[in-house]
């Protein structure tokens, strides 16, 4: 039996006396899209940093496809992480940035070159690929950052606000790419404030509030749990479970 793509056991993170993440238990199956919701400061980015090994937990464990996240060398191949602020170098052109990531990941440059061209074309970046990133728009930067995240075909994708700053066309391209990858077996952990995106893409939704997972299930199930009214949306459910969390546990 395959281990869950993402698994955490009593994962906890504190900063001094502030608890950023209480005991978080997650078990996310391969190939699913998990929508990770929560108000600002709920602990979403902290969770993502813990899942990538960029931050050490105070207690508890986390693993990706059965590999503990503190095994840095193995985790690098398993995960693609797109943080909220695109990690790009303004001095490079889009193509150079992607080739740099190929070098960082020690991928085969010749084999990847074709893939880079395909992805640049898929996201309408071919014409601008040789321009410096410092001159890119927010959306173009976000698209390059997404491409570098998926370049090595990771089995687990952690995306923090991936559609932020994208125009409707680019957002559509990105959502299609996420769905396509998920159908191919990639597990996507998607953190966003744009609830319709989650509603459209996610198989499972988890709502984090004050460092605690206060609701989890399919979007329909979470919506139903929060509101008996048949017209309720995920937004209504989100507002309900994050206003009086204790009542929903």
């Amino acid at each position: 039996m395959c281990p869950p793509a993402i698994e955490t056991d009593a994962l906890r993170k504190t900063y001094g006396t502030t608890v950023a993440l209480q005991s978080l238990d997650l078990s996310i199956e391969s190939g699913s899209i998990y929508g990770f919701l929560g108000p600002n400061g709920a602990g979403k980015t902290t969770t993502m940093r813990l899942l990538t090994g960029l931050s050490d937990p105070t207690s508890g464990t986390a693993s990706l496809s059965g590999t503990p996240v503190d095994d840095r060398r193995s985790i690098a191949d398993l995960v693609g992480y797109l943080p909220e602020s695109p990690p790009l170098y303004g001095e490079f052109s889009g193509r150079e940035q992607l080739e740099y990531v190929v070098g960082l990941r020690t991928l085969d440059a010749d084999r990847t070159a074709e893939r880079i061209e395909e992805l640049l074309a898929q996201f309408d970046l071919t014409e601008d690929a040789d321009r410096r990133i410092s001159g890119y728009s927010t959306g173009m930067k976000q698209k390059v950052a997404y491409i570098q995240t998926i370049l090595h075909d990771p089995p687990v994708l952690l995306l923090d606000e991936p559609t932020a700053g994208l125009d409707p066309r680019a957002a559509r391209q990105l959502k299609e790419s996420i769905t396509e990858r998920s159908e191919g077996g990639t597990t996507v952990f998607l953190s966003t404030h744009i609830l319709p995106v989650v509603e459209e893409l996610a198989d499972t939704v988890g709502v984090l509030y004050d460092g605690e997972l206060v609701a989890e299930g399919s979007p329909d199930a979470v919506t139903e749990r929060a509101e008996a009214d048949g017209d309720a949306t995920l937004e209504d459910a989100f507002l309900a479970v994050t206003s009086e969390p204790s009542a929903n546990r």
């Binding site: 900063y15 502030t18 990538t52 690098a76 170098y89 001095e91 740099y100 960082l104 020690t106």
Partner: protein, 536 residues
């Protein structure tokens, strides 16, 4: 162990870092100009040193014996080591885009990449300067290839200083992460330690001039290091028989490199994955709102000044560039020690004038537009006029200077300065502080810098290097002249005559005139500024 993979990734990172360094300069006209200013300020002393070294080489040519330089080889190596520690703490110890780099490459590969890039940078800056100086000496001594051979021999030593310095610097950064002290206490503590080391060393040398020979570099010479450095002279009349020294040094460099890289990797991983102190210190709670005290509450400019002061006190590392004020003041300690005890009070107060003047000119005002880049959309859409904003910064900078001036003055009073001199020094010092702050606004507004860089573990916007160099050449030199004249007058060595009065009037015009003109030009620039102009 995956050493091969890490070396490959490390070389990718090093090449990328170097390419970024070159592009960040070559694609920006302002930064190109800055590099030109730095190059000129480095080349000017070389114009003097090169002929001197050619002459020195010529002098030793006949004797076929080198002057005693073993100690200088040791001093140079220690100097490079300290430089590497400083560079690690201030810049190279941080990763740009850590979320990308640390999720794609192993920390050891990152350490290799960053240290190799730094090694190349140092070779092509410090190394080339050393090469020029040694070539000059070699030309005089009849071995014109000396610079090249020294460069080749010195390259492994450079590498060792970089990796060992990286260990030291990372150790300091980890210590900084581990200590749960308030950042302000650490910053103040760091400045105090720096003051004790720089001023203390000056005092020591001055006080014990009789024992100065004991402090000569030859006293600390490491002979195997000198023997290694002598490899540069192989094939020349100055060559000594090759002993075991070069072998010892060579083996030491080879053996210690993997160890240093291993320690660096452990320390770096700990530092890079440490919780951000700014996130950690969520317990910092400020109650009572923003309520400036009198007299700051009297005017909008006072509001601006108080805001600048509060921010500087809460995050002093954002003003790390004022460190130059302390470096500039250090040699003054030697003057203090050599003077008779009866003069100490006055000299201390005058030292305070210099320190306060440089501080006033560097704090808040040396990059008034660049520092505001992020806030410009807010600032430009308020009712505050550019004049008020700049005046507020000038008031804040002058206040900081006057506080230092007053504190040092009171200390001077306690060791014998008379009240009349205290008042006079304080008045002159206050004018200097104001003039320096006014002058800096124009200088800083003319060369704004909005680039954010990782320095001292924090991302900060610093004034352009060109502005800092011009500031030190003008304000520091100008203030020094004024302080010397004031000292001569208060000591009774300069009496008031029509010539002296005329000189003082001229000096005042030279101080006040450019300061006011500079301030006006800053206001004009601020009035015409747009977001696009700053960001470009």
């Amino acid at each position: 162990m995956n050493w091969r993979e890490d070396l490959r990734t490390g070389s990718t990172i090093a090449r990328a870092e170097l390419r970024r360094s070159v592009r960040s300069i070559s694609s920006d006209r302002r930064r190109l100009a800055e590099v030109a200013v730095v190059a000129v300020s480095v080349c000017l002393p070389l114009l003097v040193l090169v002929p001197v070294l050619i002459g020195e080489g010529w002098r030793v040519r006949a004797s076929t014996a080198l002057p005693p330089v073993a100690g200088w080889v040791t001093v140079a190596t220690i100097g490079l080591l300290i430089l590497a520690v400083y560079r690690t703490v201030s810049a190279v110890g941080a990763i740009d885009q850590d979320a990308l780099v640390l999720t794609t490459a192993h920390p050891r590969a990152v350490v290799i990449g960053l240290t190799v890039a730094e090694w190349v940078r140092q070779l092509f800056t410090v190394g080339v300067i050393g090469c020029v100086l040694l070539t000059a000496f070699g030309v005089g001594a009849g071995v014109p290839w000396l610079g090249l051979t020294a460069f080749l021999v010195g390259t492994p030593l450079f590498w060792w200083t970089i990796v060992a310095g990286y260990v030291g610097g990372m150790g300091l950064l980890v210590l900084d992460d581990r200590l749960q002290f308030d950042r302000r206490l650490l910053a103040v503590g760091g400045v105090l330690v720096f003051l004790v080391v720089t001023i203390g060393s000056q005092l020591y040398v001055s006080r014990f001039t009789g024992a100065i020979t004991a402090l000569s570099p030859e006293a600390i010479a490491i002979q195997p290091l000198f023997a290694y450095a002598q490899l540069a002279f192989v094939g020349t009349p100055f060559a000594d028989p090759i002993g075991s020294g070069p072998l010892i040094v060579g083996l030491f460099v080879i053996m210690s490199t993997p160890l240093a890289l291993s320690i660096s990797t452990r320390l770096a991983t700990r530092h890079w994955l440490a919780d951000d102190q700014r996130t950690t210190n969520r317990s910092h709670v400020t109650t009572g709102g923003f309520s400036p005290p009198i007299p700051f509450s009297w005017s909008p400019a006072g509001f601006v000044a108080w805001g600048a002061l509060i921010r500087a006190i809460r995050e002093p590392r954002n003003h790390g560039h004022v460190f130059t004020a302390f470096i500039a003041i250090a040699p003054f300690a030697g003057v203090y020690t050599n003077a008779p005890a009866s003069e100490h009070g006055l000299l201390l107060a005058l030292g305070g004038v210099l320190l306060a003047t440089v501080l006033s000119g560097e704090l808040f005002v040396l990059n008034p537009i660049g520092e505001l880049t992020e806030q410009l959309p807010l600032v430009l859409l308020t009712r505050l006029s550019p004049r008020t904003l700049l005046r507020g910064r000038v008031i804040g900078a002058t206040t900081a200077g006057v506080v230092v001036l007053t504190s040092v003055g009171l200390l001077a009073l306690s060791i014998g300065l008379n009240l009349r001199s205290f008042v006079l020094v304080w008045l002159v010092g206050s004018v200097f502080c104001l003039a320096a702050a006014l002058f800096s606004t124009g200088l800083g507004a003319a060369i704004p810098s909005s680039d954010t860089t990782q320095q001292w573990g924090t991302e900060t916007v610093t004034p352009s290097i060109a502005a800092q160099i011009v500031f030190l050449f003008t304000v520091w030199d100008g203030a020094t002249i004024g302080v010397v004249v004031l000292w001569l007058m208060l000591s009774g060595w300069l009496t008031v005559t029509p010539v002296v009065v005329g000189g003082l009037v001229c000096y005042s015009v030279v101080v006040v005139g450019p300061a006011l003109a500079s301030y006006r030009s800053a206001v004009r620039r601020f009035e015409s500024i747009t977001l696009a102009a700053v960001i470009e």
